[in-house]
Symmetry: C2
Subunit: 504 residues, 2 copies
């Protein structure tokens, strides 16, 4: 008897992972690449070698096919890809320039000029995205201004999804959410925008064709199949942006449900039924969900996790019996269990926040006393992330958008303390699902739907259901945090003011 | 041949030390008591058992006499005693109440009332001391108000010096600087003040007779001699306040020379030739030096050392290979060597400071970045102590008082980094003398003068000379710190303002 399987690919910013599932949602095998190298040819540039990303896919998939027996058949692959990286390619799809990642900062000046010229409103009203240095729209414009040779050689502009899709199938196809991340799509029509393409300096014909998520793109090319050990007939199903695939996997697919992804960067993502941009605060960026007739609204809070990582590295560095990162965090967790918080020790993040996700600012501790321990200080850092989240969610709630529950994933979700702090500070119940590769799971559901193995996405999700734990706000702590949040906002505004004046 | 020696006693707030010197300043033997216990019969009270302090003296001296052979003769003892603790005693000198230490806080309300009634100016203008909760003046007043039984039983009021003097010689004698610390002396006449005694509710006859430092009080009583193993004929020479004895030992005996004692509390002490109180900022307290015709002016900056101690205990706690306090500080020093400071990371002390030595406030770190290490943060703490010192010295310098050099002693003087930071921030050269018990050394000089073994104090000091190292301000760092000090003051004023408004 042959076991039919679907393969979810998670192409992240630093490495690629692959998970093979049977059609009941059980894991069959896993694979993972090494991290890609990062090129910094100029200060502030963050590029990657496209060939290395492709080889990462080959490695991750090959690891899986090497593990499975002849009774296991891989019917389909589907991809969750990070959004925002740009790859200029020739007409035949061959790269003509390194991949410019979304972490690259070369377009600062262009962004400044566009903002000065008042273009942000136009861009936002069409694409749904505010202007950020790392997105393909400004990066293409940068190439046309600063590297005409590369710009002229580039007949096509890929997202990483489009590049891998072309390598796998030979087709120039993308999906709504990865296309949306290029900031060149009209969010209301779902088509490439002529005006945004004109701003970038290109024609829509230089971009891949937008097709629905969950639809078969085509068979995997023989050469790619052989390199990865895939069987004849295996197809590629159109996937999407990794945040969207994660949200799909978690069941965050209707208004009121929010995904809180706490990785290096913290991003919350909600769901809308229509692209009614005026109904949502401007700080939120719009994209297509990987579900039809669904849109995502999301806001990055930046690297809020970095402050705790920094603190643990400082205050638990070299501690006896805590040689690994894991052991250091275990020591932190044990010491945190003895803390209560006195309501007046405040931390201000060293990077990220409700109003400046991309900047690395100066923060600090206020209200410190001799009685405070390093664990008290760690608690204050966790609380600061919760305050920033609450601060960012306030305009969302004030706009009348429901925020019923937060699905929390990523490193901070593993903490025995942080989810409770987030629930207590925001007053929102938090769901902690017990799984660790949601992008791959979400795409596996899309793959199963694409090949007709599942009747619907709901059917697929039911098969892939994972256990979850709910963390509810504590009423007493809620009251204490209300007061503390007031202090936090007041003090933060003072500090921001002082920083603007160049004092700090 | 008999070796003649003098014994310096250092009766501190927590324990008693004794050092035996030959007449060329060489150490012959050392002794030390265990720490005295602290009684806290009521919250905020800090008392000690007088008998335990006396036994500490017996222990420390006995340890010395047990070590020396019959060829060593102890000719004289002299005492440096902490100032401020109060012991109510019967007419025969027997204690009738525990010793109320200067750390005791029971008189807060009396101080508040006196300040409200405008008495502080009067007290300060006579005694030279501002009102502090721990001094004998308010503590005697407290007894008369709250414990009439004890107050009536007490026919005498001792400082710790007077108590030990009486136990050693049977005489009711004190010295100018220990008397001054009771806040009951007229700083201009050197006599007990009738007005201050009246404010306390007692008569000057209840206090010991003030005799000059460096004069023989009398022979040690036979019973005391036997308990401590001292020879017949050994005398007690009148000593003084421990800060004054330290200053004497260091040669801080003329205007322009400043002692910076960096123990648990940081105190700087300068020298004046006359009690011209209007010539000195009001924040400075006056006392008699242990030298004739010399006065000390001093200001406590409170527990500035406590913040670094706290930080090391947090950020180096449990660090591999740093099990002891000494090893933790060695690890700190090694890591500090790699830091430079970026001029914008600021720390605000958790206790102490230029304007509130006695309060434990809320402080913190500002201007923190992800690139900062725990050692950078330690440097910021050291810098904050230097800023507080500079801030406190500014009015002194503005009043035209010379500040040519700082003699630095205590824990912070052992740091390979802190003295340089202090020199760079204040612009004042710092002298680091290589010795560790200056109060005992200073009293040994007084003892030698008292018994006529030294022609003069200058002669004695020459015999006891210790090597010293000078740390000079670095011009470039000076400029950087000028700017940083401006930031520090600005930010500190903002924070203090906010704390006054009850926000923090």
């Amino acid at each position: 008897m042959t076991i039919e399987t679907v393969l979810g690919l998670d192409i992240g910013t630093t490495s690629t992972k692959a998970v093979l599932f049977d059609l009941n949602g059980g894991e069959v095998a896993r694979g993972a690449s090494r991290p890609y190298r990062t090129l910094t040819r100029q200060p502030g540039w963050v590029e990657q070698e496209p060939e290395e990303v492709w080889q990462a896919v080959v490695t991750a998939v090959s690891q899986i096919t090497a593990q499975i027996g002849p009774d296991v058949s891989v019917a389909a692959i589907c991809m969750a890809a990070q959004s925002g990286s740009l790859l200029p390619a020739a007409a035949d799809g061959a790269p003509v320039y390194p991949m410019i990642t979304w972490l690259d900062g070369r377009t600062q000046e262009i962004i400044r000029q566009w903002k000065e010229a008042g273009s942000e409103e136009l861009v936002k009203s069409i694409s749904g995205w505010s202007l950020y240095p790392g997105l393909p729209l400004p990066n293409i414009a940068w190439l046309s201004e600063h590297d005409l040779l590369a710009f002229t050689a580039a007949r096509r502009f890929f997202s990483v999804n489009d590049f891998i899709t072309h390598r796998l199938t030979g087709q120039f196809v993308t999906n709504p959410s990865n296309a949306g991340g290029m900031q060149l799509v009209d969010i209301r029509t779902g088509n490439w925008s002529r005006r945004l393409c004109a701003l970038a300096g290109i024609s829509p014909s230089q971009l891949s064709a937008i097709q629905p998520a969950g639809a078969i793109i085509g068979e995997i090319l023989p050469e790619a199949r052989r390199a990865m050990g895939l069987p004849e007939g295996a197809v590629l199903v159109n996937g999407g942006h990794d945040q969207g695939c994660t949200a799909l996997g978690l069941g965050v697919n209707a208004p009121g449900k929010l995904l809180l992804a706490c990785g290096t960067a913290w991003v919350f993502t909600g769901v809308m039924a229509a692209p009614e941009m005026d109904s949502v605060p401007a700080a939120l960026d719009w994209n297509f969900h990987v579900l039809p007739q669904r849109y995502t609204i999301s806001q990055s809070l930046g690297g809020l996790g970095a402050s705790l990582e920094w603190w643990v590295n400082q205050a638990w560095r070299g501690v006896d019996g805590a040689a690994t990162r894991q052991a250091m965090f275990a020591a932190l967790d044990a010491e945190l269990a003895g803390t209560e918080g006195d309501g007046r020790l405040l931390f201000f993040p060293l990077t990220g926040g409700h109003d400046g996700p991309a900047t690395t600012q100066r923060g600090g501790f206020a209200g410190l006393q001799l009685s405070h321990s390093r664990a008290d200080m760690a608690r204050a850092i966790m609380e600061s992330a919760a305050f920033e989240l609450r601060w960012a969610l306030q305009p969302v709630q004030q706009a009348g958008l429901p925020v019923d529950r937060l699905w929390m994933v990523g490193g901070a979700a593993q903490s025995p303390h942080w989810p409770q702090i987030l629930a207590d500070v925001t007053g929102i119940p938090i769901r902690l699902p017990a799984y660790d590769n949601w992008p791959a799971l979400g795409t596996a559901v899309l793959a199963g739907v694409g090949i007709g193995a599942f009747e619907s996405i709901a059917d697929g999700l039911a098969r892939f259901q994972k256990p979850a734990r709910d963390v509810l706000p504590d009423a007493e702590m809620r009251g204490r945090y209300d007061e503390m949040f007031g202090l936090y906002q007041e003090k933060d505004i003072l500090t921001t003011e002082a920083q603007r004046h160049g004092d700090f």
